[in-house]
Symmetry: C2
Subunit: 748 residues, 2 copies
């Protein structure tokens, strides 16, 4: 739960309290300025706190062990071996030395006060250590020990007391139940984890909510020569959590890329804002586990993480500008690509290969991933032909055939890298016969150094030996299969495209906050099973300027007659209750006379009774029938963890079957809304499809802004359906409305 | 082009000639019998021919070289090293010994006549070698040499003369432009390729249309301990091609799994039948390259392969029961899985892990791939709890936590393997701390041997060392990431499910073949730009019993008046020409009087003229307007290589936007049709959606059978649209029909 949200009192301010992020009529520049300032404040506080974890001068390990077959022994050994520039202080009650280093019986006895204390003692002893550290003025404690919230109620209580102790003494905590902290930047290098792998230092940082995944990624990073500048295993995230580290690394000039393994997204509103802000400078790649029901069950039993529905998570990550990796391997591929070059400017790829089949697979993989494999100009092909034997193919993919030499690779890369029709190169070296991989690597490294332009060079070594280490050490990304290369390249370019776009802004309708409060309270009292009456629902929408077809609520055939005359147009007569009307005979369309309206009420009553729904047959709506325009749907569902999801899509009875919908988390910016509409297959139905007149898409946009404001103001709205919404040549009108309040409104 | 098709004379027999595969009113059993017999005949001929390639007794290598840095030297060295049980005969004009073995100056001088001759001499010398081999009675020649059809017109001519020479002498050819042949069965073991990798012998066979891909797969097979029983690089497929090898391996008791890398599908009608037949015994996994436009361009320049459109290829592989791999890595994963166990019975998976995060990812991956991660019974959980520490989680995924020992792995596998609620196990071993991978492997091998039931056991070793070799040698599949394991397992189970189903049969309408010929000829003469007149199109559909809304063709307002009276119902008036009527004002609906019909003709004329289409404004249809039912579309497109594609989907103007369609290659079986309909999101609109009456789906099925017969009989149909087709409560009627003949009808 966001601290900011919690600080603000309830009632009317429910609406006012969110205005601070809406910035009302602010311009884009003003919005950016406002957020910049807010985030910069938060960032400098975070930096002071996290420097102690990631750039300490003295590290104490409480519980440091001489036995390398224990976690505490392994971790301490790693720390000693990591050539930490500061002081390492083993703390051990029983032994005067640990792994050959003089040890201290407790923190108080240490010759200097450590900046960072790593705790490896049994759970029950941890609060004592934290208290001692706090008393000495230590600001950063990383608790490796397990046995806290992940084990059940007793553990959760122990963790709560630990956090309380830490807060009381101004100590920040990483963990408990974690694998430690590692730094590999130029100004701070140490390994206080129990990983057996030693990834090279570098400019990529990693946060993991799972110890095992963290260790697996560090091992893979070592194999891939992926330089790691920072790693924090947040364990149970009792204090320091993903948003803190995003902010820290996002402002750290030593870090160029942030990798996240998440099981839950804590404080999602801040996550979106921080990630957007950080993402302007560095790419963020996240694996979010718990995509499926089975995965969420598993996550709940792992770290008691509560994972939102995956549609909501997907929307959130998209809105936050985070690149969502499909798997750990996908994350590693993206990291290999994104850490290797600074720019991904265009989609036109040249493929260079020594085998035809692999070239075809690479071309397929490029096009599948949104890349283009263009024809080369005559000039480029001529230059290639002068290098290659006549049997080679100088068209793209350029197939130098199996006899290709290392020198030919180097020369062809120079030609293609200089070709203005090409933005990026994928170079494949398949099973070598005579030419050696390492010679090709040498030539590629030399050729790349000479390339005058900023052209990504990506390699695929589809053979037993895999990519030569020299290549990876030189920062040229290499993959085992062309699909991985093309996929990572395509997504990196897509990220660069998106980064250039503005974040957009939230537009709010003028709403009289003082009228909303009482209206909501009264509507809630009159609601049945949470469902608002038709009249209350319509009144609420009115306040937000959301157009609903004119309607009169009636109880008798006589009232229906009068209502039809009053409206004076073709009407629909329907049951007022929020049920699936058309499935149970609760709807009559095309009613043109007062008498027919009365008859319709009687007929609906009869149908509902035979459907066993006579309880619903008390109130009816006589409503203006919209007879033109395109049927769309606008809906809202509240994810208990991530907030209100706003959905727009093709409406009518087809909506469930065809699923042509787009979803984002409220509040929506104008860019979100544009993005949603453009992603719909049915969008073209709105813009003048096959000679039909163009419809008022702008009215639909406005409706989405207003719905977003409504559900963002009123977290008690658990569910809302405007289906259908008719988008007309002028305006957009909801013809049917259902709103449900949750029993216990809560903000995310 | 199918030889069978080419053997039959033209004209009326165009229809008769395909009857042999339709087997008219045959029962399923009769169809199966018929195909069985036909395929068995072809299979025994193939077997005799291919035994010489894959089970030879004496192999000569013409052009065998002493230099291991040449292809000929590498290949000959491999052959010598492969402990071939028969005789190896190097043939070299200049040297009396090659790599220490006595050589012969030519084939005639060899002491025995080889069964198999491998040719590594320059292209121009190859026809002479084949002639000499043929004269000696050699039946099998594998041409490694390049410089044939892949290089252009001269090479194609040389290849044609080579094939002619071989056919004249009864010699079968593998290649040219290939990497050789390898066998690794119990009765035949040799390596006549220039691969540097030596995969273990085994029961998986591989065919590759690309040398480089073939070599890459052999290398990967060695690393994965995937046993290879047979490998043929078909190169330019001048003679022996994929269908031959499918048949051969499909009947080879030494082979359990067939892998294909294809750039084109030769003789697609036979491919479907052979693959279906073979697929009853062994799984076939194919990578088909050239999925995209860029890939097809690359394929055309590689081996001059002509690849059909990917939608057609996808339909074909689906109908053939072939598992389509997305990539080489996907094929290797599937091979790892399918080669490891004989049965994949059910979808309920237990996950066993020593890390929580990896367990969540595995659960996600299972559910994403159609697998189920069920709750365990109390009994099973109780047994697990008795083995594991209290901090472990006994629910599925079972998280034994980082302290899990090898023994605990073994014990937990025994418990889960015996649990009746579980069909398969995924066992993950993440970064080891104290427990060693090899000990876990030993315990898993032992536990698996004791499992009484046939439960697939799949492992994931997500750590730096990767899976212990012992595990792979024991035939327990192992993957680096849970996603790969779950995906391969899910697809293997899906394949097993599909294998159980019947192939289905082709139902044909009674058609008077003698009337069709003249009708087609006359319609073709009257067609404009290939488009049939409305009257001819309707007449053709009539012959096949495909219902079209009643219509009268008129030229004047007066004729339209008369036509409306004659039809005596609400009519549509529309331009007869095969254009997109509704886009240009060529359609008037809801015409209820003779006078209105006349007016409609005038109005359409005016609209067409203002759209610049006055040429089309000469003939009009006055047609019964269908006012109920669901609009669907039935369409046909002819792929020049793979045949006629029949499409069915949601109709009306939404079809292009929503793309809810299913496609198969004609002729369609009843199973194909069922499969297509069930795959549509809109299918539920036909079966009584939300209280609507159920529609006559069977009439739509019949229409698809009839359309399939029509386009299968008449390959001149390049394109056909029945859009919309109204599926009614009784019957199904096409309301608009367009048929286009190709200029030069050809059969695939």
């Amino acid at each position: 739960m966001s601290k900011t949200d919690a600080e603000v009192p309830a009632e009317v301010s429910r609406i006012a309290r969110r205005v601070w992020i809406h910035t009302l009529e602010a311009t884009d520049a003003e919005t950016d300025q406002y957020l910049d300032a807010a985030l910069r404040d938060r960032s400098s506080a975070t930096q002071a706190a996290l420097d102690a974890f990631l750039r300490p001068h003295a590290i104490a390990v409480v519980g440091a062990s001489a036995d390398p077959n224990t976690i505490a022994g392994l971790l301490f050994g790693n720390l000693v071996d990591s050539h930490f520039g500061g002081v390492v202080l083993p703390v051990n009650k029983k032994h005067p030395t640990v792994q050959g280093i003089a040890a201290y019986p407790d923190l108080v006895s240490c010759p200097v006060v450590p900046d960072l204390v790593i705790v490896c003692v049994p759970a029950s002893a941890v609060p004592g250590v934290v208290a001692q550290a706090g008393a000495l003025g230590v600001k950063a404690v990383c608790v490796i020990s397990a046995g806290f919230a992940e084990t059940g109620a007793d553990g959760a209580a122990l963790q709560a007391s630990l956090v309380q102790e830490a807060q009381a003494r101004g100590v920040r905590l990483v963990g408990p139940n974690c694998t430690g902290v590692l730094s590999g930047t130029a100004d701070a290098r140490f390994n206080a984890t129990f990983s057996r792998a030693v990834p090279p230092p570098g400019r990529t940082s990693l946060l993991s909510q799972s110890g095992a995944i963290g260790l697996a990624v560090l091992e893979a990073a070592e194999i891939r020569c992926l330089g790691i500048g920072g790693f924090v295993s947040v364990g149970n995230s009792s204090d320091v959590a993903s948003n803190d580290l995003l902010l820290y690394w996002g402002q750290d000039p030593a870090i160029d890329l942030i990798l996240l393994y998440l099981e839950e997204i804590q404080d999602p509103r801040w996550f979106i804002r921080i990630a957007r802000w950080v993402g302007r400078r560095v790419p963020i790649v996240a694996v979010k586990a718990g995509r499926t029901e089975a995965g969420r069950r598993a996550a709940a039993s792992h770290t008691a993480a509560l994972s939102g529905g995956d549609v909501a998570v997907d929307a959130l990550l998209h809105q936050a500008g985070v690149i969502r990796a499909e798997s750990i391997e996908d994350m590693l591929d993206l990291a290999t690509m994104l850490s290797s070059q600074r720019r991904f400017r265009g989609r036109r790829v040249a493929i260079l290969t020594n085998g035809g089949g692999p070239g075809i697979l690479a071309a397929d993989a490029c096009e599948t991933n949104g890349l283009v494999v263009p024809e080369l100009t005559e000039l480029t092909m001529g230059r290639l032909r002068s290098l290659l034997p006549p049997e080679a193919s100088a068209s793209n993919p350029v197939d130098m055939i199996a006899s290709a030499t290392a020198q030919q690779y180097g020369q062809a890369v120079r030609v293609l890298g200089a070709a203005p029709e090409i933005d990026a190169l994928i170079v494949m070296f398949n099973t070598p016969l005579i030419t050696r991989s390492c010679d090709v690597a040498t030539e590629l490294i030399a050729a790349r150094a000479e390339l005058s332009r900023d052209v990504p060079l990506v390699t695929v070594f589809m053979n037993r030996e895999g990519p030569p280490p020299a290549l990876r050490e030189a920062g040229i990304p290499s993959f085992a299969f062309p699909e991985n290369a093309a996929r990572a390249l395509g997504r990196s370019i897509a990220w660069e495209d998106r980064r250039g776009r503005r974040a957009g802004r939230v537009l709010r309708p003028d709403v009289d906050a003082h009228r909303i409060g009482p209206l909501v309270a009264a509507a809630g009292r009159r609601a049945s099973d949470g469902w608002l009456t038709a009249v209350d629902a319509q009144a609420l929408l009115d306040q937000y300027g959301i157009a609903v077809a004119r309607a009169v609520c009636v109880r008798t055939p006589g009232e229906a007659e009068a209502a039809q005359s009053e409206l004076g147009c073709t009407v629909a007569v329907k049951v007022a209750a929020a049920i699936h009307k058309s499935d149970v005979g609760g709807l009559r369309l095309g009613v043109t006379t007062p008498a027919a309206a009365a008859e319709a009420v009687l007929a609906i009553r009869a149908d509902l009774e035979s459907a066993g729904l006579s309880g619903a047959a008390t109130e009816f709506l006589v409503q203006e029938q919209i007879e033109s325009g395109q049927e769309m749907i606008v809906g809202v569902n509240r994810d208990p963890l991530l907030g209100s999801l706003v959905m727009v899509g093709l409406g009518g009875t087809l909506v469930e079957l065809l699923g042509d919908v787009a979803v984002r988390i409220a509040p929506l910016t104008d860019c979100d809304i544009e993005d949603m509409l453009q992603s719909l297959k049915s969008y073209r139905l709105l813009t003048g499809y096959r000679g039909a007149p163009a419809l008022d898409v702008d009215a639909l946009r406005q409706m989405l802004h207003r719905v977003s404001a409504l559900v963002d103001d009123l977290p008690e709205i658990a569910e809302m359906d405007l289906n259908p919404v008719f988008v007309l040549q002028k305006g957009a009108v909801a013809a049917d409305v259902r709103i449900r309040f949750a029993d216990h409104p809560s903000s995310p």
